[in-house]
Symmetry: C2
Subunit: 409 residues, 2 copies
């Protein structure tokens, strides 16, 4: 089943687009569906009609997002009505519901929103619990056309709802997709070590490389589902502790789960990463259960005053050093009232590097039980990439330390 | 001039795509160019050819990114060669350069990378300083076709270089684009207050709404450039201190610039925002000049132990309260050895809300000179949105406090 996505009204506003494509892509994966093509266009009737007709020729499932707002430049309804040669019909019930939504917020329903009660003839309404624009599901020529509003918080539940309702039609191929994750192994090594498996699986196997994380996406017909276990065993045996599991959540979520399971409290000391590690850990709802807090000792004064790194150590070894990373980790654990801690000190660039301490050099410290160690890395990339790589490497290390310590006991 | 972008090889990997589209869109804006359509497809020859021929029909300038890697599934070169009916020619000099790049990294040049030395006949080579795949610039039927590699750190300088080299052709319309930014005013208010101006400027005026920031993008022919000043004056007079300026950098950069100018050192205390404010401030190279550090007192224990919020205050008012925000700001300034400080304490959700303290409630504290105040907000949206809105609101407040204080003196 070929799926195409058309994203409307995003001229210039491209930072909004990604959220949608990403979101749609993730939700579709649960149904074993991949997006073959995505078109992003502005609110121009001719462009919308052309993009739709183009997709309508090849795709079996077309998801159109955006352009369902109340203002004059929201043209998705009109364009699709013309392209499909179906009338727009005013739905009194929907208009009542829209008015109700405004009244609940103590706002007089604006006349302009009446536009959102016009529905393409013969379409099934998808309720919008987080906004005013309803979605529409249309079936024509054995193809599914789905119109949904652009804001991600409206789009997500509506897409999930719609997919459930057409599940039987989507599942005709009965495909299952599973994602196997491997941490801390370069893509080339994964490819080399799994060469036989990759060759055997062919097009069903996709390798996605993220900083410090490799995802192997395998799609198989349901009748072959026992193969997943076979594949997982090969990956597990090949990568041991570096294999994270199948269909895992994000790395910060995984770390959170591990800390919760082991009843460990975490504290983080950050210099070069400047708060990124704390931010990622606290992105996860409920992280207060295992995250005590962080010390962003960006300046040397705060390294001394807050994390009690001795002046002599800072002077002798410099802020970016094994010794300072160790002090930061040790005292973050102590003052953070934690069981385990992470520290980061490095040179994220673009300036500040020297031949001995180049841009990209990061020392990562970990303190757990009575041991504190620091590990040296030289990451490549620009400032953001270096910071990101360092933090994810830290997450990898903390997982390893916890799991290895457990094994020993 | 109609610009279309084709992004290749991004199947599934859609979180990478946005960086590129966003990047391209921003760089093009400097030349007054807007993207009319963007197509994202996988590494399939038929899809690439079709997307290209489709764009070639309508667009004057086609930017194709990705699929120039060395492996068998990188098919952009072959597809374009077929679509344009131009031969691929092996360029010995480029192969030598690629080999040189590997040797510098002490890596034996892989035979597979030879693929990257095949060039579409008649194209101008765009040098790639950050990678091995060269870019290609092709002119045909008065249209410009640009092939660039996908990784943003390679794409950015190569796109900038290419645009410079075809500048004269792009500028035939001599358009200038300027972006006016307004902080802390809702979109609807901007629209209402500038209605006359918006009507007058018509299609040349685009409103982009970000959380807490409105950007007004105005494109005019060079001959009308004195109108920019006129427009700026209207916006300035309408929004006063809320008007940030024309073609400003990012908000964290703007805050950094202000702190540097005023020779002020900043410290930040974060609870609900969990490190996001510190992360955004330290995203900016050179932020160590004005950023002392942060206290991520996520747990109440650390609020007490590190930021010395009295136990009685926490018990009486709760962690999410005006009093705690004030203590956090005051002591972040004191212990952070700073001149000015920001604090955040709130309920980011999705759980943890009560009727009195709902999800979205955030207290933001600011301490500057001998004054410390806290401000109450209720932000809507999911966890990420609430955190983001709170932090940007904090940045807005700190700017306001500094500028108002200056005025008084």
């Amino acid at each position: 089943m070929r799926v195409e996505v058309i994203n409307i009204g995003s001229e210039l506003l491209f930072n909004k687009v990604n959220t949608n494509i990403n979101l749609i892509s993730k939700i579709l994966l649960k149904y074993g569906l991949k997006i073959s093509k995505c078109v992003i266009i502005g609110d121009k009737k001719e462009d919308i009609k052309e993009a739709f007709l183009n997709s309508f020729e090849k795709a079996d499932f077309i998801i159109i997002t955006g352009g369902l707002g109340p203002t004059f430049d929201d043209l998705t309804r009109e364009s699709l009505s013309e392209a499909l040669n179906r009338k727009l019909i005013f739905d009194e019930k929907i208009w009542e519901e829209i008015k109700e939504k405004f009244k609940k917020r103590n706002i007089e329903p604006p006349e302009i929103n009446k536009r959102q009660a016009w529905i393409i003839d013969g379409s099934k309404i998808i309720e919008n619990k987080n906004g005013t624009a309803p979605g529409m599901l249309i079936e024509e020529k054995n193809k599914i056309i789905l119109l949904l509003p652009g804001p991600p918080n409206e789009l997500r539940p509506m897409l999930e709802e719609s997919l459930k309702s057409v599940k039987d039609k989507l599942k005709e191929e009965n495909l299952i997709t599973k994602v196997f994750s491997i941490i801390g192994v370069p893509e080339s090594e994964v490819e080399t070590k799994l060469k036989d498996l990759i060759d055997k699986m062919g097009e069903n196997f996709i390798i996605l490389a993220h900083p410090n994380l490799i995802e192997l996406v395998l799609t198989l017909p349901e009748k072959d589902k026992e193969k997943f276990l076979e594949v997982e065993n090969i990956i597990k045996n090949t990568f041991g502790l570096n294999y994270l599991g199948v269909d895992i959540p994000s790395i910060p979520e995984l770390i959170g789960k591990l800390l919760r399971e082991k009843k460990l409290k975490l504290a983080i000391a950050e210099s070069c990463s400047g708060g990124l590690a704390c931010k990622l850990i606290t992105d996860i709802p409920g992280s207060s259960e295992y995250f005590m807090g962080g010390f962003i000792t960006y300046s040397n004064i705060l390294k001394k005053k807050i994390l009690k790194v001795p002046k002599t150590i800072l002077r002798k070894y410099g802020a970016v050093s094994e010794e300072v990373a160790i002090y930061m980790a040790k005292n973050a654990k102590k003052y953070g009232k934690a069981d385990i801690s992470l520290s980061f000190t490095g040179i994220a660039g673009p300036t500040g590097g020297t031949p001995e301490k180049p841009v990209g050099l990061v020392w990562i410290g970990i303190s757990y039980k009575n041991k504190t160690n620091a590990y040296k890395f030289i990451f490549s990339g620009d400032r953001q990439t270096i910071r990101e790589r360092a933090v994810y490497k830290g997450f990898e290390l903390i997982r390893e330390v916890i799991l290895k310590n457990e094994k020993r006991n």
